[in-house]
Homo-oligomer: 212 residues x 2
């Protein structure tokens, strides 16, 4: 079972690393970090350089594809080297998974037409422009397409995917292994619970808070 984690310039690191931490521990998994070209890829803050060990062209038939989101996604919405690759691997992949605005790339590749899907809460409307059906849930599954909401939602998504692939007990063992017993000190993680002015600021000027 090959798992391809797809990176691109200015991806959001936690989008990729959250699910990686779980999926890469599936029994029999061979996980490969790939990008259009081999070599270091910078995250959206510029701080993290993560090595792509393979080019997209070297990864021909992964079983699971994970596409993270991030500010760099916006530059790739017509970028055939990536979109064409997504369409090609989709033909044989068992699971196509995205986190945050990664789902917009899948949608731009034409793979989410008519399908319920999610993304970062502030990008929800963009999904419909590509024919997907915006569904504001934390994890949305439609057949083999699994999309997660913003950034940290990839952890919940991957845990669910591990359960479907290897069974609930294995997924629970992984959850215990990464001590995923979340206790955020605030309850501002969703636009439904966060102070309204913060929702407005992040929607209108995300760079004020998130930089990049």
């Amino acid at each position: 079972m090959q798992i391809a984690i797809v990176l691109y310039d200015r991806f959001t690191a936690l989008d990729a690393v959250g699910p990686y931490e779980l999926l890469s521990r599936l029994p029999g998994a061979e996980t490969v970090v790939c990008a259009e070209e081999r070599g270091p890829v910078r995250s959206d803050t510029g701080v993290l350089g993560v090595t792509a060990d393979a080019s997209l062209e070297e990864v021909r038939a992964p079983d699971i594809v994970l596409v993270p989101g991030g500010p760099g996604q916006g530059l790739l919405m017509e970028h055939e080297p990536l979109l064409g690759w997504l369409r090609a691997v989709d033909a044989t992949a068992t699971w196509m998974a995205t986190v945050c605005t990664g789902s917009l790339l899948l949608a731009a590749a034409g793979l989410l037409k008519g399908r319920p899907a999610t993304t970062h809460w502030a990008a929800m409307e963009a999904l419909s422009a590509y024919g997907a059906v915006p569904t504001p849930e934390r994890v949305v599954r439609d057949g083999k397409y699994v999309t997660a909401a913003g950034v940290s939602a990839g952890i919940d998504m991957a845990l669910e995917l591990c359960g479907r692939i290897e069974g609930d007990e294995f997924a629970q063992a992984l959850q215990l292994g990464i001590e995923y017993d979340p206790q955020p000190p605030y309850s501002a993680g969703s636009p439904a619970t966060a102070p309204e002015h913060l929702v407005r600021t992040l929607r209108e000027s995300p760079e004020k808070i998130l930089g990049g």
Copy 2:
């Protein structure tokens, strides 16, 4: 404000990347990924290569130090190039933060003597061998020393730290930005809630589940 994220061979990626995603967005932060030597450092699964952009020696007076855990920690408990560096930067750092077994490195450096601290649930007893006071909470703060429980706990820790440094409102905005509204599909994230036989397996043979 300089933030140093310390990597070493076979670190657990999410330990570092969870807090990175939040701390690196603090206003005025300059975040640097460092390791004993510059260059790519491999995570515990071998899958992820993260670039250290600076050697420890080049990072002399960081304001915040973040030490992740991971299987590689066990080989460094008498490794003076790292432990000596931790002692040296501790003299001027404002915050010394760890995730998972990263606290054992801080303890081995002699910095947690008599202090309450936490670590991965399965490593709790090891803390007392170095004079720390094992405290099974998700985030434990004692003065400038902030230790988080296993792997994913670093996200909660960093959110708390961001609140202390930049105020609750900024931390809430970050939480909303990464949509940290956790909804794990299972409730097995702590030994108190996980099935007992999984707790036993992970305590006795963690490699069966986590590999590495």
